[in-house]
């Protein structure tokens, strides 16, 4: 049972505060607004190794537990005096953040500030007396009266989104990157032309490549997410690759079958045609939802997206030269950043980069050098030469170079090979509706040992 829900900015400003158990006056002050400040003091005083997810505030009559998640740079906090399931509370807070994003268009301090009345309204319907009532947009949309105030089209959030889903403009049939970050409930007047539905295949890749280029760990966590702006829901059929096989046991033919280890579906997905035709049937409700989650371990169907050929030499300086090769030819990697750990006490660095748009900088505080490539075309090969000046260099210092970690986004590409063959809306659906299918792969953790 939840006692309070509040949203704080990263600086500790109170954005939303809802108390479901307003306590009678005589012991007020115990668990009322002060607890926000208590929480903020606790969360900012934590050192790195302490666990912030659940914190206990010892009150005079009963301990208050704070459970929080961080989303969009904000603290989403629930406090409780009972001992509930942590999974429920955490997933609820995540859902609250997702709903806020659906209704406000984006998730940021600004959008929460501007739409606080709407968020109060949401909270009012979602939770009563500390008990979760509903979080489904289908039900909520009947009760929500306030309209979202969109933040201006140009904001930092949009900037960070540029290119997320391929801002490549050479191809005309690509949704603008900001298209999906708008409120699901639009003003009644401008409803036409907004009957859009986005189906995103999002994969998170975590890979460890050993020192000799051997793939040591590879792990894909994928999901199919629907963001639906259709006012009324009707059945939609999503066709996946026909040759998709599930589980380790199924025999692999000669063809390059797409395989996932296991998958789980949203409970609203109808699977009667899944076994034979690999078709998911779903009635999407407004807003964002995950219809399928899948994972694939230890076996990448393709080569890992990046290969790094590092060489480290000890001279008067430490010289590391990096040769980075992007194996996918039909995709583009965006926001590639490579972190190379350097020995402690490194003072300065000189660099030779293969193209002008790349940047590299030494961060002595993090004992690392950061090499950034904003855009990396498919099949290309980049090289860089860094000379790092380390006073008191010894042969052991070479041990400190590595492992290299990378983060990147691959647009229009999935590593598992999962594809959406078709997307059909029921014929009863009237009006023009636009359908978009987008693929993106994020690096969850991409580590290359030297």
């Amino acid at each position: 049972m939840i006692s309070q829900i509040f949203i704080l900015s990263s600086k500790g400003d109170h954005l939303i505060y809802k108390d479901y158990h307003i306590i009678m006056k005589h012991f007020r002050g115990e668990a009322s607004k002060d607890s926000i400040n208590v929480f903020y003091e606790m969360v900012t005083a934590l050192s790195g190794d302490q666990t912030p997810v659940v914190m206990v505030h010892l009150c005079s009559h009963k301990d208050l537990h704070f459970i929080h998640v961080r989303q969009g740079g904000l603290y989403w906090v629930a406090s409780t005096k009972t001992n509930p399931s942590p999974f429920t509370i955490i997933e609820f807070l995540n859902r609250l953040a997702a709903l806020t994003k659906d209704y406000c268009g984006s998730l940021s301090e600004k959008s929460v500030r501007m739409n606080f009345a709407l968020i109060y309204e949401l909270l009012d319907e979602m939770v009563d007396f500390g008990y979760i009532q509903t979080t489904s947009t289908d039900i909520l949309k009947n009760f929500i009266q306030t309209e979202a105030v969109s933040s201006k089209p140009f904001s930092l959030f949009d900037l960070s989104n540029v290119g997320l889903f391929g801002a490549e403009t050479q191809q005309s049939k690509v949704a603008p990157s900001v298209a999906a970050s708008r409120p699901i409930m639009s003003s009644r007047g401008e409803q036409s032309g907004k009957n859009e539905i986005f189906v995103d295949v999002i994969e998170r890749l975590s890979v460890v490549i050993g020192s000799k280029g051997v793939l040591m760990k590879s792990d894909i966590q994928g999901e199919i997410r629907i963001k639906c702006f259709l006012p009324t829901s009707s059945e939609m059929r999503i066709g996946l690759n026909e040759e998709l096989s599930i589980g380790k046991s199924q025999q692999k033919g000669y063809s390059s079958a797409v395989r996932v280890d296991e998958c789980r579906f949203h409970q609203a997905v109808k699977l009667d045609e899944f076994d034979t035709f690999r078709i998911l049937k779903v009635c999407p409700s407004q807003g964002e939802q995950t219809v399928m989650q899948y994972q694939l371990c230890d076996e990448l169907p393709c080569a890992p997206p990046f290969q790094l050929f590092p060489s480290v030499q000890k001279d008067y300086y430490i010289v590391t030269s990096q040769l980075l090769f992007f194996t996918f030819s039909c995709s583009t990697a965006l926001n590639v950043s490579i972190t190379v750990p350097v020995p402690k006490g490194s003072v300065s660095m000189s660099q030779e980069l293969s193209s002008p748009d790349q940047t590299a900088e030494l961060q002595p505080k993090n004992k690392a050098l950061l090499w950034e490539i904003p855009r990396f075309p498919g099949g290309a090969q980049l090289s860089a030469l860094f000379k790092v000046d380390v006073p008191g260099l010894s042969s052991a210092s070479l041990l400190e170079v590595g492992p290299v970690s990378m983060s990147f986004e691959l647009a229009k590409q999935t590593c598992s090979g999962l594809q959406i063959r078709f997307l059909r809306l029921a014929p009863t659906q009237t009006g023009l509706s636009q359908r978009w299918v987008r693929y993106v792969t994020h690096s969850d953790s991409y580590t290359i040992r030297i």
């Binding site: 790195g48 606080f116 989650q293 052991a396 969850d444």
Partner: protein
């Protein structure tokens, strides 16, 4: 945080809200109301505007109504007399044709927390329970709970309780769950809502209609239902089987908890359920939300306490991502250490090795500690890695490695030679007090094998004036005396200087006392000192204690899927109390204590009353280890017969029969053979060690020696315990 000039602000708002021009312009009026709520959220006291807000509640705009209600709920308890004015409007709304308005009004009216509210809300709630619209019924059901919480000490209204039980059959799933929640609150003093067979089966059949939040809540309520027969139990379990694989982690985990509880008599079913849930649990460990990841990891750790092998093949899932926060990395490393086996040890060590140079010193040290723990099983491979790390010459790494060496030598004496060689070659010395203590202990204990030991120690003695930590000084004293015993010629001079400084100039009383003790010991002669100072150099059998044994599932099932595992306080209360009662005594002091006093058992002819042993709550390995180190041996006795010839599980079962719990023992054929056992008796906890073939006590090598420690001391109980133990062992032989 109140802003400056807040009073001005309130006054200005008041003026605006009472301005007829503003009131006429709906948009402007609403804007001002929004402003009030904004200030309220920021923590400003805007209760002075209550009157104006009450006026604003009489509107057809539902959005505005909601804002005003939010305001009124917050301040109603401050202004009870004014709040009464709003009740009329609310009661009128409760009869509105629009169910949304009815529900809204009822919900907010019940949220008013002020005395005397009950008489106004009772009638609308009762009407709401029979409303046509499910939305209103949902609100009304929870309203019953709110009404009860307004007057917690009054008698329970039987008609409402009956009505709520009847509403459990409501077609709307949320109403059903709300009924359970409301009944739970109202009947809290009587033990909560009763889940009998019809209700349980009804709920089980409705599971599919519920949304995921309600599902996990109903699963929690079902925990208190006990099926009558095995057939019923398996019917229930097969109904719930599909929920183990739910896409929502909270449902899967709640189902698992129910399985573990219901099937507590069927270990095979429990194991199956755990296997089923391992996939969703692992998926949460890789979830996009790092908080969910953390929760998943904590619960994986819990499961591993009983089923360490369950996640063995998935060890790669617990490799740390480089961008993960430290608290997740710590958990993952803890799990990795537990998952090590012959096949994956090389890969795991390579992975851990790469964390050792992390930019965060805490993380690096934790990684080194993890390697150190693996070293107790795979010492050679780990020693290579640890030695390699010393070459980095970084203070925090060196210190952590030296500490690991100390532990390793203590647990695995076979690695002593290699460690000494490394320490000898290590030019760098640790800078923090923990590391210094570890190094000094190694030098003192194994000074005969480290040729440079006296010179390293001399460096410390010369720098004594700048040393701040008294723990380091005490360790230095002990180590120097030990060193003096094995290499007197090189040590004599500096030991003299050290003692002189510590006795004459040291201001810390503890250090002075320790120095005086050493001095007087030495005065008694070398042999005497040797007898006191040198203890055992290692205790390999203690590593049996640190290696985890499989715990029964029941030990953690009760805290599974609660906040306990996440906040790290899932110790059972019993052990917490015991360790709090422990007297603080440092292990260094214990070294200097004389060997235990041998007490012969008084012959049992004096009329001794029967003593009863009991098992009590189980003791964890960590607690046992801590207590064993902290307590003194109260009694040591030779049993008079040799080592056990029977199978060890027979022995364990025999001990269990007389309520003595076996915690750990070395495998049958090893020498020395040891076993650790414990039991409870009339308010005291007895710990005992059975030992055979102890090289430190020659002469009695063939017979079994039992050493007993106790907390709190009760000689009578010890005598009883020993005679019972003797009886059992005699029977088994």
């Amino acid at each position: 945080m109140p802003y400056f000039g807040s009073e001005e602000m309130v006054k200005e708002l008041k003026r605006a809200l009472s301005n007829p021009n503003v009131q006429a312009d709906r948009l402007r009026y609403k804007n001002y109301i929004t402003k009030v709520i904004r200030y309220m959220t920021q923590g400003l006291d805007v209760s002075a505007l209550f009157m104006d807000m009450v006026k604003a509640s009489a509107t057809v705009d539902i959005a505005q109504k909601k804002l005003v209600y939010l305001y009124m709920c917050t301040y109603a308890s401050d202004k009870p007399d004014l709040a009464l004015l709003a009740i009329n409007t609310l009661r009128k709304d409760c009869a509105d044709p629009n169910p949304m308005v009815r529900g809204l009004a009822l919900r907010n009216m019940c949220n008013f927390r002020m005395p005397g509210m009950t008489e106004y809300i009772e009638q609308p709630i009762v009407a709401g329970l029979r409303d046509k619209a499910s939305y209103v019924r949902r609100v009304a059901v929870l309203g019953c709970a709110k009404m009860h919480s307004l007057q917690p000490n009054t008698d329970i209204d039987g008609t409402i309780v009956n009505e709520l039980y009847a509403l459990l059959r409501d077609p709307d799933p949320v109403v059903v769950v709300n009924c359970l929640r409301a009944l739970e609150e109202i009947l809290k003093d009587e033990g909560g809502v009763v889940i009998n067979k019809p209700i349980a089966h009804h709920l089980l059949n409705r599971m599919k209609d519920l949304d995921s939040w309600a599902q996990s809540e109903v699963l929690t309520f079902l925990l208190r239902y006990r099926p009558r027969s095995d057939d019923e139990l398996f019917d229930i379990l097969s109904l719930l089987d599909s929920f183990l694989q739910s896409a929502h982690a909270h449902v899967a985990v709640a189902t698992l908890r129910l399985f573990l509880q219901l099937a507590s008599a069927h270990p095979a079913v429990q194991a199956d359920a755990l296997l089923c849930t391992s996939a969703p649990l692992l998926a949460t460990c890789g979830a996009a939300s790092r908080e969910l990841r953390f929760a998943g990891l904590c619960h994986v750790q819990q499961v591993m306490r009983s089923q360490p092998g369950l996640f063995g093949t998935h060890y790669k899932r617990f490799f740390c991502g480089y961008s993960e926060p430290t608290y997740i990395k710590f958990r993952k490393m803890e799990i990795l250490v537990e998952l090590v086996n012959d096949e994956n040890v090389a890969l795991v060590l390579e992975e851990l090795r790469s964390y050792c140079t992390d930019v965060s010193p805490e993380l690096a040290q934790a990684a080194i500690a993890a390697i150190g723990r693996i070293a107790q099983t795979y010492s050679e491979k780990c020693l290579d890695i640890l030695t390699g790390l010393l070459a980095l010459k970084q203070d925090h790494i060196t210190s952590a490695v030296i500490q690991m060496f100390r532990d390793l030598v203590w647990f695995c004496p076979q690695s002593t030679a290699a460690v000494c060689q490394t320490v000898e070659a290590c030019v760098d010395s640790p800078q923090d007090s923990e590391g210094k203590q570890a190094l000094l202990w190694l030098l003192g204990e194994h000074g005969d094998q480290i040729s440079s030991a006296p010179y390293v120690m001399e460096g410390y003695i010369d720098g004594l004036k700048t040393e701040l930590s008294s723990a380091v000084k005490m360790e230095l004293l002990t180590a120097s005396v030990k060193m003096f015993l094995c290499r007197p010629a090189e040590t004599q001079d500096m030991l003299g200087r050290l003692l002189h400084y510590c006795i004459e100039e040291e201001s810390d009383v503890c250090v002075r006392d320790r120095a005086l003790l050493c001095y007087r010991l030495l005065q008694r002669g070398v042999e005497e000192t040797r007898k006191v100072v040198t203890g055992p150099k290692s205790d390999p059998s203690m590593s049996v204690l640190t290696g985890r044994q499989e715990e029964p599932i029941s030990q953690w099932a009760s805290t599974f899927n609660t906040l306990g595992p996440l906040s790290g306080c899932d110790l059972c209360p019993q052990t917490a109390v015991i360790s709090a009662a422990d007297q603080p005594s440092s292990s260094a002091e214990k070294e200097l204590l004389p060997e235990s006093t041998d007490v012969t058992l008084s012959s049992p002819d004096d009329t001794e009353e029967e003593i009863s042993l009991s098992l009590g709550p189980p003791l964890s390995h960590e607690t046992f280890e801590k207590m064993w180190l902290d307590l003194e041996i109260l009694q040591r006795q030779t049993m008079g017969f040799p080592r056990p010839r029977t199978a060890l599980d027979t022995l364990q079962a025999a001990l269990q029969l007389v309520k003595i719990q076996t915690l750990a023992f070395t495998p049958g054929a090893t020498v020395p053979w040891k076993a650790y056992i414990y039991t409870r008796s009339t308010g005291t906890l007895i710990l005992a060690e059975l030992l055979q073939g102890d090289q430190h006590a020659p002469g009695i090598d063939e017979s079994l020696v039992v050493s007993v420690k106790q907390q709190p001391v009760n000689q009578h109980a010890i005598r009883g315990f020993v005679s019972i133990l003797k009886g059992v062992l005699g029977d088994v032989w």
